[in-house]
């Protein structure tokens, strides 16, 4: 018998016909973001071609942590695909007309929402699936439905709203940003005895630097590292007081509209300042959306500037001998955790390693590193959710905890605010005496300023 509370809950959130309308819209491509053509094809091909061989589950960090049916990638994707079939295919409509079933299992939309946020969207499944099925794409479609129903976890919804409205996750004002920059400049002066400035809104600068979310307000060492690099090579660079926090929560929550318009803040800022190169900091989501979707998909026309990541930029400087680093300054053993969006999403695997090998005396490889890395367990926005902490520590982060122990390194360096938060919590939870850093934080220690 159906639970009256659950029925009430569904009625509260879902207007009649909304799910069907949405799934049909997905099938015909989202009118807001027509360029995102892959979702319908992904759904269609994935539901037609899955051989149910179970290889994805073998490789999924979540299933590794809790090997039961609920955590199976195929089972999770089935929740979305059955809706797609039900509303957009001939046989789906036919069977639904004869044997109507509720949209969600147990008529519980919140359970559906929870399940969509049990996928880390790390794409490890796609790397190993014999037919290349990427369950992260299906989960993202599920999340966009969740978003439409107003069931996105509040902290993510707030972040998306802030990014969309203000251009930064925290919703911080330009004044607060200016204060922080002044503080960081003072820190740099005290530390180096040099006048290393962080230029703001400098029109005509060659390089526009977009730090990742959190680098300005939380992990300033990364920003200090980049500032020292630009200072060391005498670059003509700038940051924007309006767009200083690269991220993309719309990508995470499946909100295509927000994903597209969050990205516009950064493009506008770079265009307004007339920069020729946008160097993006250590945020995989922001970089992936900017480089591989907005730029290549011509969301906002052909961009009048090049886009590169901080990793590629710094690695190139090291390769060409323009940047000198003293590995002795980072004498502790260091390992690198590949952030999913950089490694599996953008193929940036070698560059961070090149930087760390140049900046650290004892670099150790994490097992299964590279684009087939194991997610930290906080991917897909989960590390921002306090409500699923137990899940992140005991289930999704289980494999990463084992790997961190295995490397026996004292420092785990990574390249994403979400990974950093998650790895810190894992280290604390599993009582591992580890320091979690960003990559440019170690460059900040090792850089030689002549």
């Amino acid at each position: 018998m159906e639970n009256p509370d659950q029925i009430e809950r569904e009625k509260k959130y879902i207007p009649p016909g909304m799910v069907g309308t949405y799934m049909r819209r997905i099938a015909e491509s989202d009118p807001f973001v027509r360029e995102i053509q892959d979702e319908p094809s992904a759904l269609r091909l994935y539901m037609d071609t899955c051989t149910k061989c179970g290889v994805c589950a073998q490789e999924c960090p979540v299933y590794y942590g809790q090997p039961d049916k609920r955590m199976h990638p195929v089972e999770r994707s089935r929740q979305v695909i059955r809706l797609y079939k039900k509303y957009t295919t001939f046989w789906g409509r036919f069977w639904n007309a004869i044997f109507p079933k509720p949209d969600f299992e147990n008529n519980d939309a919140e359970l559906f929402s929870e399940r969509m946020y049990e996928c880390l969207t790390c794409r490890r499944c796609a790397a190993f699936c014999p037919v290349g099925i990427d369950h992260s794409v299906v989960s993202r479609v599920g999340r966009s439905l969740v978003d439409l129903m107003g069931l996105t976890p509040p902290s993510l919804a707030q972040g998306t709203h802030n990014s969309f409205e203000t251009g930064n996750l925290e919703g911080a004002s330009p004044e607060a940003f200016l204060d922080t920059i002044q503080f960081i400049e003072e820190e740099l002066r005290e530390e180096t005895g040099r006048d290393i400035s962080i230029p703001l809104d400098r029109e005509g600068a060659e390089i526009f630097f977009l730090p990742p979310s959190g680098d300005v307000l939380v992990y300033a060492e990364n920003l200090m590292g980049m500032a020292k690099i630009f200072h060391a090579i005498g670059a003509n660079w700038t940051m924007s007081s309006r767009a200083f926090d690269g991220s993309n929560f719309g990508f995470t929550t499946g909100n295509n509209f927000s994903m597209k318009y969050e990205n516009k803040h950064y493009i506008d800022a770079c265009e307004k300042l007339g920069c020729k190169l946008m160097v993006m900091g250590e945020c995989g989501h922001a970089y992936r959306v900017m480089k591989f979707m907005a730029s290549e998909g011509h969301w906002w026309g052909t961009l009048p500037f090049e886009i590169t990541s901080g990793f590629e930029y710094t690695a190139q400087l090291i390769r060409t001998g323009k940047l000198k680093l003293d590995p002795g300054k980072n004498s502790d053993s260091v390992t690198y955790h590949d952030a999913c969006q950089f490694a599996a999403g953008c193929g940036i695997v070698e560059e961070p390693r090149e930087i760390l090998k140049a900046a650290c005396a004892d670099y150790r490889e994490m097992p299964d590193g590279g684009y087939t890395q194991w997610c930290c367990g906080g991917g897909g926005g989960l590390s921002a959710l306090r409500s699923v902490r137990a899940f992140r520590m005991d289930v999704s982060g289980k494999k990463k905890a084992e790997q961190m122990r295995e490397t026996d390194a004292k420092i785990v360096s990574t390249s994403c605010l979400q990974c950093r938060t998650q790895l810190k919590e894992i280290a604390r939870y599993h009582k591992m005496p580890l320091r979690i850093t960003g990559v440019h934080e170690l460059v900040n220690n090792a850089i030689i300023l002549e």
Binding site: C53, T308, E312
Partner: protein, 267 residues
């Protein structure tokens, strides 16, 4: 000849084969309507008159696997397609099972060409059919057992999956038994097929096992378009097929390399 044999031999083929071809065509048509990264491998598609394929060249949005690489090579693509190299790297036992199943299927299909070959080659074709169907039966049994025994596979398997695999296994096992117990002569097969094509009931003397084999084959044709057995479309999504597995960073690097060179110059 009883009614069952008459139905399987002379009536069901008129439904099973057209049904299979139509449903397969529908599937392929549906797949082609959407963006498919593998279509970039088709050299004539860009700017060609093939309207459907032309649509595929919308700007690539890198949201699911699919190489953006300009360096994607046919050699790698064929290697991935023919040898399942992606699966080999991940799970060698599963690779052996699935690759030998497909190899067996290929050999069984090839052996049927004997209908149009000279009679001298018939013994060779029968041996090929025996080896192919034997391979299929052994590997199909392994895959079915794996589905039953391994938890992560069992929990996502439903009745339709078991049914499809059971029909596939019946098809290969009956093929093996047909060949093992003498087979059907090419002449009789030719007579039978020409009878079907001309709409006349060309009565042939066949062993009972051949009727079961034909039934399994026709059921397979009916089931394939609706089951996980039709995963052909998926190969176009595979990173291995698209040459993005080993050289993933390299492929992406190809996109960056130009930028890197430019940066070098700037620096």
């Amino acid at each position: 000849m009883n009614g069952f044999e008459f139905f399987v031999l002379y009536r069901l083929p008129y439904f099973a084969l057209p049904f299979y071809l139509i449903m397969l065509g529908v599937r392929i048509w549906v797949w082609m309507r959407f963006y498919n990264p593998a279509l970039k491998l088709l050299p004539r598609a860009r700017g060609s008159v093939y309207g459907v394929w032309k649509q595929q060249y919308r700007p690539t949005i890198h949201i699911f696997p699919g190489s953006r690489s300009q360096r994607t090579e046919w050699k790698r693509a064929i290697k991935g397609f023919v040898f399942f190299t992606g699966l080999y790297k991940r799970d060698k036992v599963l690779w052996l099972g699935s690759w030998s199943l497909h190899l067996g299927l290929f050999l069984v299909i090839v052996a049927h060409v004997r209908v149009i070959l000279p009679p001298d080659l018939e013994p060779i074709c029968l041996r090929v059919a025996l080896i192919g169907s034997g391979l299929m039966t052994v590997s199909g049994t392994y895959l079915l057992l794996r589905r039953v025994i391994v938890q992560r596979v069992r929990e996502i398997t439903d009745f339709r999956d078991y049914l499809a695999e059971f029909i596939l296994l019946s098809f290969s096992a009956t093929a093996f038994l047909v060949v093992l117990y003498g087979g059907v002569s090419s002449e009789a097969l030719r007579h039978y097929v020409s009878g079907l094509l001309t709409g006349t009931t060309a009565v042939i003397e066949v062993q009972r096992m051949f009727v079961w084999h034909l039934l399994a084959a026709q059921l397979l044709l009916i089931v394939i378009p609706f089951s996980h057995l039709l995963h052909l479309g998926g190969i176009f999504l595979s990173r291995e097929f698209l040459g993005t597995s080993d050289t993933f960073a390299g492929d992406f690097g190809s996109g960056f390399s130009g930028l890197k060179d430019e940066q070098d110059e700037k620096l």
